[in-house]
């Protein structure tokens, strides 16, 4: 049976997970030490997704940039296009953690949200 190795990126344990498969189906998963690891690997095998973190300029805030993230993971192949769209975004102070910078990025249903509070200057 062909197999593939994955390093789980969910937590610092970095479990090495072994996947045996035939065609598009997983026949055996081993090496993970929790449920999240198994979920991650199944997803990684079929359609890998990643969270994205970056920052966006803020107008009128106490600091020039606010850090942001995807509210959920997005398909890995969309990371580059998402970065391009985020680079055009701007926010206005005050910003609270969770405020959206972009809604429904690239039609994924995922928002780009602030991860830092930025008070008004």
């Amino acid at each position: 049976m062909p197999n593939k190795k994955y390093v789980c990126i969910i937590c610092p344990n970095s479990c090495e997970i072994d996947v045996e498969y035939s065609g598009k189906n997983i026949t055996k998963i081993s090496g993970q030490t929790c449920k999240k690891g198994e979920e991650y690997t199944r997803k990684e095998f079929t359609s890998p997704e990643r969270g994205l973190t970056t920052s966006v300029p803020v107008h009128g805030g106490t600091i020039p940039l606010v850090s942001v993230k995807t509210s959920k993971t997005i398909p890995k192949e969309l990371i580059k296009d998402a970065m391009a769209e985020i680079s055009a975004a701007r926010m206005n102070a005050p910003v609270k953690i969770g405020d959206p910078a972009i809604k429904n990025i690239l039609g994924t249903g995922v928002d780009i949200v602030a991860t830092k509070n930025v008070p008004k200057k």
Binding site: Y6, V7, C8, I9, I10, C11, P12, N13, S14, E16, R50, G51, L52, T53, T54, S55, P57, I63, P64, L65, S67, K69, K76, I79, M83, I97, T115, K116, N117
Partner: protein, 415 residues
């Protein structure tokens, strides 16, 4: 000089300082004060905008700023006062703290003090890269600060020396920002970062990692124009004929962190050469009674959650000391044995369960971690993988410690 008296003074307002202050307050210290030299609380987490913090404590992967905000909110809720833009210049053995701030010079007398100054990065001077001294050479943390807090573009084509976590995170960050990361060179035969960061920061973006390689020369007069990479032998000496020149305008150094212990040394506190942090007992008390240390100033942590937990313990101990609670004698000494770089804390009582933190010397597979008192094995743990990048924690129960004079930790092949 403005004079002030408090029960517990916390030096540094990063994750360790925030958590230590909260814990001191919750454990009955009436008058707690945080002193931070930066403009904001939160320490280095202000610039760690990537995710992966808080899994251990909150069960969700937060970004650095989100993680720190939970603690800042809690500090505000408990009305713990803090001084910002306030640099501690001196901590003395009689527990007086000299602080320089905008309002002037302060002398703060405290019943107990918690040292939470974090760590700083090793720089080029400390690793002696030969060549010219052009612009374009940054520590990875300085680059993280410029990009994530100021929005500067630091270069188009970068090489990263050292595969520590900050270097790996920055390889991805630079790539996302449109720069090209041409290589990560690591002098050791293995990465010094976490495997998950190798996977999601290098592999995801096809960035090559050169193990057993170093930068032998930096080219360029005004600005970096290229660096020479070469393979090294077992003694870390470059092997002639393996050099390759890579054109780039930026070199990032991710060659390790050093606890920031100038204040600690000046106070006359005993330092462990292995961790470059204070020698502490299980209350995280240093060699000076009433002065405690936790977080990266004590030993470099890879996961911030463990910093917060360690700081809770230090905060509790500092509150108890300030309230005059009697202390248990700490007579059991811990020692790193074969394969172990360090073990913390250095002294234990047999009065309660205790969590030991340790790091191994080198990566290994299928090993036994053995804790003994020299004659008798107290605990054996099987490990399929160990890695110097990953701190190991082991809890010893009160009854396991009974009768021990010392604890030796070592690594053995499991056959």
């Amino acid at each position: 000089m403005i004079r002030k008296t408090v029960d517990v003074a916390v030096v540094g307002g990063g994750p360790a300082g925030l958590s230590a202050a909260l814990s001191a307050k919750k454990n009955g210290a009436a008058n707690v004060l945080i002193i931070e030299r930066g403009e904001n609380l939160g320490g280095i987490l202000n610039q760690c905008i990537h995710e992966g913090f808080g899994l251990e404590s909150f069960g969700v992967a937060l970004s650095g700023p989100e993680y720190m905000q939970r603690f800042i909110d809690d500090v505000e809720k408990h009305r713990i006062p803090y001084m910002l833009d306030s640099m501690v210049l001196e901590v003395s053995a009689d527990k007086k703290i000299i602080v320089s701030s905008k309002e002037g010079l302060f002398e703060i007398t405290s019943k107990s003090i918690i040292l939470c100054m974090g760590c700083r990065e090793r720089t080029r001077g400390q690793i002696l890269t030969p060549g010219t001294r052009p612009a374009g050479v940054y520590t990875a943390g300085a680059a993280q600060n410029f990009i994530n807090l100021k929005g500067y573009r630091i270069g188009e084509k970068a090489v990263i020396l050292g595969s520590g976590d900050i270097g790996l995170i920055m390889a991805r960050r630079l790539t996302l920002e449109g720069s090209k990361v041409l290589a990560v060179a690591e002098i050791l035969p293995y990465s010094s970062g976490l495997p998950r960061n190798m996977a999601q920061c290098l592999d995801d973006y096809g960035i090559p990692l050169y193990l057993s390689h170093t930068v032998t020369e930096i080219h360029g007069k005004k600005r970096v124009e290229a660096v020479t990479l070469a393979q090294v032998d077992e003694r870390f000496k470059p092997i002639a004929g393996t050099e390759k020149k890579i054109e780039c305008d930026t070199l990032l150094l991710s060659v390790g962190l050093v606890p920031e212990n100038e204040l600690t040394r000046k106070a006359g506190i005993l330092i462990d050469e292995q961790t470059a942090g204070a020698v502490v007992d299980e209350d995280l008390q240093t060699s000076i009674p009433g002065i405690f240390a936790c977080g990266n100033v004590l030993h470099v942590h890879d996961v911030v959650d463990y910093v917060s937990l360690e700081a809770e313990r230090a905060g509790r101990s500092a509150a108890e000391y300030a309230q005059g609670k009697e202390k248990k004698p700490q007579t059991i000494k811990t020692t790193p044995g074969e394969g172990i770089r360090y073990v913390l804390p250095h002294q234990l009582s047999a009065d309660s369960d205790v969590k030991l933190s340790m790091r191994v010397m080198a990566p290994a597979r299928n090993v036994k971690l053995i804790l003994s008192d020299g004659d008798r094995v107290i605990k054996t743990l099987m490990k399929t993988r160990v890695n110097p990048a990953e701190m190991i924690q082991v809890t010893l129960k009160k009854n396991e410690l009974a009768g021990c004079k010392k604890i030796i930790v070592m690594l053995q092949n499991a056959k």
